[in-house]
């Protein structure tokens, strides 16, 4: 009996260790981009703007390396593209049970360069995250995940769009115009 219980506990521990180790790869996706950091970010921005019918709009573009540079240090380039859709954020923000998920808003996609000189795109696994909060959030996040997939679908035949630094509609804050922020 002792052996059975011991084996069971060992099994649980092994699963937890394995899950903990691999959680990162479940929660986040990383894909390689054939473009520079700026062009990748600009193409993602253009793709987001093409999803206006789903309520999406750009709400920010951040360069987290800037503060590091101001402190006298270097890091390879990173650009954080922030976007939001009131169509998805609204139902979650209106419900006390899910309002805490506002901490994940706006939706952020990161574009960065690594030491191999290549550009990568990092995304949160919105679908998996949504399933952790019940069916309502799960359904919303499944749609977000589908839209996210379209944000990172690049068409090399299209010319490089300009990187949008001033956010349309955002006005530097949240929701100056509809969809400007969340």
């Amino acid at each position: 009996m002792l052996k059975v219980i011991g084996g069971f506990i060992a099994g649980i521990v092994s699963v937890l260790v394995l899950a903990g180790t691999m959680m990162g790869s479940f929660m986040f996706r990383e894909i390689e981009s054939p473009f520079t950091v700026e062009e990748t970010a600009a193409r993602i921005q253009a793709n987001i703007q093409a999803k206006k019918d789903k309520g999406w709009s750009l709400s920010g573009l951040r360069d987290p390396v800037k503060p590091l540079q101001a402190a006298g240090e270097n890091a390879l380039p990173v650009l954080l593209i922030e976007a939001c859709s009131t169509r998805y954020s609204g139902p979650m923000l209106k419900d006390d049970k899910t309002r805490i998920l506002s901490i994940l808003m706006p939706c952020t996609i990161t574009v960065y360069k690594k030491n191999d000189g290549k550009t990568y795109v990092g995304l949160m696994n919105a679908g998996l995250l949504g399933r952790m909060f019940g069916s309502k959030v799960g359904e919303i996040m499944a749609e977000v995940a589908a839209d996210q997939a379209s944000f990172i679908a690049f068409d090399p035949s299209k010319p490089a769009p300009p990187l949008i630094k001033g956010m349309p509609g955002a006005g530097g804050g949240a929701g100056k115009e509809a969809g400007g922020g969340c």
Partner: protein, 579 residues
């Protein structure tokens, strides 16, 4: 599973919170969902323009006036400088009344001759080399000479012996108002002028009297007016030199940090009779021994890291210094201390493909497009460009000598033509592993004579490529100016040019870490000539080592298990053999 879910949620939530706090510019902004993006986005470069000395908006005369406190001569009180100068040569004439030998010095330098003769007697320099960017100055002098330290070089008849043609102000202007534009054969702007043409932007005429009265030692903007903007735009050519170095932060260059050491270019590139040390034609790839000592006679190149730091520069960490210093006989300092170049937000050009030049837009008119960062991507006049920033250097063994292709050298069009080739022997005492920017391109060559072609690009005449968009006319005119035969048949060949990286020295904390070289995906993979732990190895030796390690581990486990069994048996009164 609930715990698992909770943990799974916790991870991204914590990460999001940590990210938002860590990356916020201002603590106040963390409460604002969408802060003004323009405040945090990397500064983007100004659109590239043709080779143009520094483009100031407002004259920073305060700095120029302050500079007067550091000189023993107030030039504004000199009688010779009280004139209302009408031209650059008039200013030079006034300068020479006191600095009688200065022009003679300048005339011996490459800044004047644009010529360099290497050890083999080969004539190089801008006058003789076809480079990987604008290709050649010959037949394009009126534009290119915006970066000549002289006045009036517009064709082969330029008088190199006339001292009045020496331009003192381009290096000694402290007001940042002295501009030399393409098309003026090295003269400054004498009358208010629209530049670029049809842009609606105007460059004011230089106040030569005021500029002459405020001359000073060269600062970064003086050198940068050409060296930052070489090849037709900010950051185009070098990769480690661009306008971000006018006022850099510590992250960009520890030596030039405007709030720190604030080195000017001449702090390292010290001059002697106007000859500036540290030319790319005379690179000191290897220097051994101690740092230069003030007062001691030393004829070594002052524009080298070792001239200040010596060849055993790592002294602070007793655990690491021996190992780090052991690297200096194989690596140039720059290899570790400039881990990436083009870090200032301007970026640099990676390639220039001339073969697409003359292609017009949909309406049959010339077009120009930019990349996502606002840098030139295509121009009907010049072709296709690729830019990037924070670039990982390419590494090569280098002994300081460059093997250049000069005009007229035969090429093999089936292979990439090396405009220059760093020389060096893997592992040799006279060579070190250096970081390079390798610029790639395509340019015109003569299909019959198999050499690169001299193309007449700039100008408003009917044969200029940028005016008439006719390759045949432009090549014919360019080759005639270069006094070289042209078969009438041309095509395009792939070319490469290597630029050693020596600026944008990162703070020591950002130097390459061990693992960036000593791992399977090493930056130095394939460099050869040196055994690299973590990269190189002998398959059989590695197998033997691993087998020994595994057997040793097994031995420990088995021995431990037997000892445990033995103790257990003894407790139960059973016999146990001793191990």
């Amino acid at each position: 599973m609930q715990w698992l879910y909770a943990r799974g949620l916790l991870l991204p939530l914590m990460l999001a919170w940590v990210t938002s706090v860590a990356f916020a510019d201002d603590p106040k902004t963390t409460a604002v969902p969408a802060p003004a993006p323009t405040a945090v986005v990397a500064a983007q470069p100004a659109p590239p323009t043709p080779a143009t000395p520094a483009p100031p908006a407002t004259p920073p005369l305060t700095a120029a006036m302050a500079n007067k406190d550091h000189t023993t001569a107030d030039h504004s009180r000199f009688e010779a400088l009280q004139k209302d100068f009408k031209s650059g040569p008039e200013v030079t004439e006034a300068c020479l009344t006191c600095h009688t030998e200065a022009a003679k010095h300048v005339m011996k330098t490459k800044h004047w001759t644009w010529e360099y003769i290497d050890k083999s007697g080969k004539k190089l320099g801008k006058k003789n080399v076809i480079n990987n960017f604008c290709t050649s100055a010959i037949s394009n002098e009126k534009d290119c000479m915006a970066c000549h330290a002289g006045y009036g070089w517009q064709d082969k008849h330029f008088d190199f012996k006339n001292e009045k043609n020496v331009d003192c102000l381009v290096c000694h202007d402290s007001t940042a108002t002295y501009r030399k534009l393409p098309g003026d054969a090295g003269h400054p702007v004498y009358e208010r002028k629209e530049f670029p043409k049809d842009s609606g932007k105007f460059v004011e005429a230089a106040d030569l009297k005021m500029i002459a009265q405020l001359v000073a030692k060269p600062n970064r903007a003086n050198c940068g007016s050409c060296h930052f903007y070489g090849a037709g735009g900010d950051g185009t050519k070098h990769g480690d030199l661009d306008s971000s170095l006018k006022k850099p932060g510590k992250y960009l260059d520890v030596h030039m940090d405007a709030q720190g050491l604030n080195f000017s270019c001449t702090t390292c590139h010290q001059t002697d009779e106007h000859k500036v040390s540290g030319s790319r034609y005379e690179v000191t790839a290897v220097m051994t021994g101690n740092a230069h000592t003030r007062g001691a006679k030393d004829d070594k190149n002052p524009a080298s890291c070792q001239s200040c730091h010596g060849d055993k520069p790592h002294q602070q960490n007793p655990l690491l210094m021996g190992q780090l210093n052991a690297h200096t006989d194989k690596l140039a300092c720059q290899t570790c201390h400039i881990p990436e170049y083009a870090r200032g937000g301007v970026g640099t050009e990676k390639s220039w493909d001339w073969s697409t030049a003359t292609k017009m837009g949909p309406e049959g008119k010339p077009i120009a497009t930019k990349d996502s960062a606002g840098r030139r991507a295509f121009d009907s006049k010049k072709g296709t460009f690729v830019w990037d920033s924070y670039l990982i250097p390419e590494y090569k063994w280098f002994n300081g000598d460059m093997n250049y292709s000069a005009r007229g050298d035969k090429i093999d069009p089936s292979k990439t033509v090396n405009i220059n080739q760093p020389e060096g022997t893997a592992g040799a005492a006279d060579s070190r592993i250096w970081p390079f920017k390798v610029h790639r391109g395509k340019q015109a060559y003569d299909k019959e004579f198999s050499y690169l072609l001299n193309v007449h690009t700039a100008g408003e005449d009917e044969t200029a490529l940028w005016h008439n968009f006719d390759w045949q006319k432009a090549i014919t005119a360019g080759m005639a100016s270069a006094e070289m035969p042209y078969s009438g048949k041309f095509d395009f060949v792939s070319t490469e040019m290597s630029w050693p990286i020596a600026h944008m020295v990162a703070p020591k904390g950002d130097a390459l870490a061990c693992a960036q070289c000593h791992q399977a995906e090493s930056r130095l993979k394939g460099i050869g000539g040196v055994y690299m732990p973590g990269v190189d190895g002998n398959k059989y030796l590695d197998m033997f080592g691993w087998a020994a390690a595994i057997l040793a581990l097994l031995g420990v486990i088995i021995h431990g298990a037997l000892r445990t069994i033995c103790v257990s048996r003894k407790k139960r009164g059973l016999a146990c053999q001793r191990w």
